[in-house]
């Protein structure tokens, strides 16, 4: 999921990455709505709210919403900055660091809410801001490494794309186009995962409350851990292949030497 970059990624890589990250984004969004009464992966709504607050002259609220939008922007900036500066030499690491940052943000929010949250407005504003930063990181990462094929928190664009794809599939030539079929699979898997994440989070929140943040972190750890395992696995296989090749060449060399000695 995280090992490959841009055009070297397969459809399966993008579906796996999209599904797991969209599931965690859906969970984060629902928990933030239930706990803080603010969306954390729906930035389109924040732009509308910002405009409304400015029109009403509520400058404090306008400032808070503007800061939230900026933090989402900063999240995208951070992840893409890490990727473009370190991708050449440390591909996996440059993709894993943004996920680690996201996990850290969510762990801070989860732990703070569990042990210290006194429900003041200032705390709510900061925690929502941190979650928006985490979602910005995630969206920036998935969009960056998949060449914009996967955007896990961008459901407005996704729904528009799905509408367009379904209208295109009314024609046979588009239905048989493997690229378009692949795109449909990615979009559908993201939509289903986001929704299932939200439903799961809602249910979990009602039963085990704030622990839902730790479950989201667990999902993100799977994303990192799966690729780390794959990297280590391929490294081991390559080493074994290399070793067996070396053994083979040594065997051939010894055999040839024997033949030469016999002839002599």
């Amino acid at each position: 999921m995280l090992r490959k970059f841009s055009n070297s990624r397969t459809l399966s890589d993008n579906i796996k990455l999209g599904s797991l990250t969209a599931f965690s984004a859906g969970m984060v969004n629902v928990v933030s709505v239930m706990l803080f009464f603010a969306f954390t992966s729906n930035v389109t709504g924040h732009y509308a709210v910002l405009a409304e607050e400015i029109a009403k002259g509520n400058w404090y609220q306008a400032g808070v919403v503007a800061a939230w939008i900026m933090l989402f922007f900063l999240g995208g900036f951070t992840s893409n900055c890490i990727i473009i500066h370190f991708n050449k030499n440390y591909t996996y690491l440059s993709h894993a660091v943004p996920v680690i940052l996201e996990i850290l943000c969510l762990l801070i929010v989860g732990t703070y809410v569990q042990f210290y949250y006194a429900e003041t407005l200032l705390e709510t504003e900061w925690l929502v801001g941190l979650m928006l930063y985490a979602m910005g990181i995630q969206n920036g990462l998935t969009a960056s490494i998949s060449n914009s094929a996967v955007k896990t928190t961008h459901l407005t664009g996704l729904t528009t794309d799905l509408g367009m794809l379904f209208s295109m599939f009314t024609k046979k030539e588009y239905r048989q186009n493997p690229q378009l079929r692949g795109k449909l699979k990615i979009q559908l898997s993201i939509m289903v995962s986001y929704l299932s994440g939200g439903i799961t989070a809602g249910y979990i929140y009602m039963t085990i409350a704030y622990n839902v943040f730790y479950i989201v972190c667990l999902f993100l750890l799977i994303v990192i851990g799966y690729d780390y395992y794959k990297l280590k696995y391929y490294e081991l296989v390559n080493r074994r292949e290399l070793k067996s090749k070396k053994d083979y060449y040594r065997y051939v060399e010894v055999k040839n030497k024997k033949k030469i000695l016999e002839k002599a």
Binding site: F36, E53, G63, A66, M70, E119, L121, L122, T124, E125
Partner: protein, 155 residues
């Protein structure tokens, strides 16, 4: 070097705008503190007689009591919102009840709790030094939003 300065400048400018906006207005938590007297209850949709269409949003006392029966603010005429997170609901008969309040979201959701398991959330539509307007969604009779307007007590 120039590009770094430009990036730094843009970040400072954006955060400067946010800080200026926040610093030049009062936090909704502080705006809310004080004594608020109820002046009006209105409904978004209300069953009304055909000859009284223009007054369909206003409700009578009996209907108000019926709809607010399940709410903790039931029969409260004046809300006294304290800075320590407590809210005292002064009722018509002179009695009072203490609950707790918190603001959520960007300061647009008022949460009231402390009345058994009851937990109520009101949308703050307008909050100025003089006026407080909150909405509550109800599925009882009126099928829509209850709009409650308060004015700040002078004392």
């Amino acid at each position: 070097m120039k590009i770094k300065l430009m990036y730094f400048g843009v970040i400072v400018l954006l955060f400067g705008i946010v800080i200026t906006l926040v610093a030049n207005d009062v936090n909704p938590e502080r705006k809310l503190i004080g004594k608020w007297e109820e002046v009006m209850w209105k409904y978004e949709k209300l069953d009304s007689s055909e000859d009284n269409v223009f007054d369909s949003f206003r409700i009578n006392e009996q209907l108000k009591q019926e709809i607010s029966r399940e709410l903790v603010i039931h029969k409260a005429e004046t809300w006294e919102i304290m800075p320590d997170g407590a809210v005292v609901l002064h009722k018509k008969d002179g009695s009072s009840e203490q609950l707790y309040w918190r603001l959520k979201g960007r300061g647009h959701v008022l949460k009231l709790f402390g009345h058994g398991d009851s937990l109520e959330h009101y949308q703050i539509q307008k909050l100025t030094d003089e006026t407080l307007e909150i909405h509550f969604n109800s599925d009882l009779q009126a099928r829509g939003i209850i709009k409650m307007t308060f004015e700040k007590a002078k004392n």
